[in-house]
């Protein structure tokens, strides 16, 4: 089942994404990412369980990162699955996003 869920972590919001991200629901992902960022909270996106992501999903990540930069807060990707990584590499965005192997590494970057 494809979905995303926002979890409150100490000091940041974690958006956990599952399944296949496509245009039918990528706006939900966009809202989940922009919600905490609009409130000035740092945001991490866990992509470990994403089997496919289309460019509307990638656009949600790009917009989130841009929003975070504009607001002076933090945005990063955690445990990026191979399927997502290959799309990020195609768009050369692997050289743009802060990416972390796991949540511990991401948390360490915030401290």
């Amino acid at each position: 089942m494809s979905k995303c869920e926002v979890q409150d972590q100490a000091g940041f919001a974690l958006v956990v994404v599952e399944g296949e991200v496509d245009m039918s629901w990528s706006n939900d992902l966009r809202q989940a990412i922009l919600g905490p960022l609009n409130a000035g909270r740092p945001c991490m996106v866990d992509l470990s369980a994403v089997a496919y992501i289309d460019s509307s999903g990638i656009a949600a990540l790009v917009e989130g990162y841009q929003k975070a930069k504009g607001a002076g807060t933090f945005f990063g990707l955690v445990a990026v699955s191979d399927a997502v990584r290959s799309v990020l590499e195609l768009a050369r965005l692997d050289q743009v996003f802060p990416m972390y192997e796991n949540l511990e590494q991401a948390e360490a970057s915030l401290s």
């Binding site: 245009m23 706006n27 460019s55 990638i58 656009a59 917009e63 290959s86």
Partner: protein, 275 residues
Amino acid sequence: MPKKTAQPAEYVLEVEDLVVEYGRRRILDGISMNVRAGEIMVIMGGSGSGKSTLLRHLLGLEVPAGGTVRMLGRDVSEMTNTEMDDLRQHVGVSFQSGALFTSMSVGENVALPLRERQNLDDNTIRIMTRLKLELVSLAGFENLMPSQLSGGMIKRAAFARAIVMDPKLVFFDEPSAGLDPVVSAELDELIIKLRDALGTTIIVVTHELESAFRIADRITVLDHGRVLVTDTVDAVRNCQDQRVQDLLNRTPREMKIDADDYLRRLTEEEPEYVD
């Protein structure tokens, strides 16, 4: 990056005994071919081989005299206009001429499928459009009009528009024709990357041998409306069929004339259509 392996039975496109006739002339004479999910299939043939006619029928733009075309599991001839419209959300096409709307900017052309079919936020559409323009090395050109672009740029913009919806199946009609070798090689590389990263099934119609050999998983060679061979690049290179070898070696065709047919064509009152 590892190539995605397609399941042998998972066909995205199935063509069976396709027959096309214009007037009394048979343009396609029993074409059968299948394309697997995640495969790059190149349809090759010289001028008049029927490859452009085949493409129009694969896209459901014309109704054949016989046979079937199944795309993404659906028989194209049995679909209503609405069903066909839904199916086309998953199919991208890059026409040889580019077919850009001259009254729209490059960015507007590329974004058009998103604006027509999807209820997406403007920011999302802008980012998706620019992602695709980046892929085809047209970043920064989105505000130019098609009349301000070179032939190669028009082709790349059409390419971006074809893939902006991340379709499951993409048709490229002569992607390399008229391009300089470097741009041509870049587009070939992009076709392979698209398949590898997104698992896109890609059908390329071309007469450019070098490009075909570079990108194809399998090649279908057409001649006079028939399939001469469908096989891997190596098998096609080594195919012993004389007509395949003539095509690969660019040997001029010997014009064989059917005297009665020729005489009829010259004298009949109702002219035939020509492919």
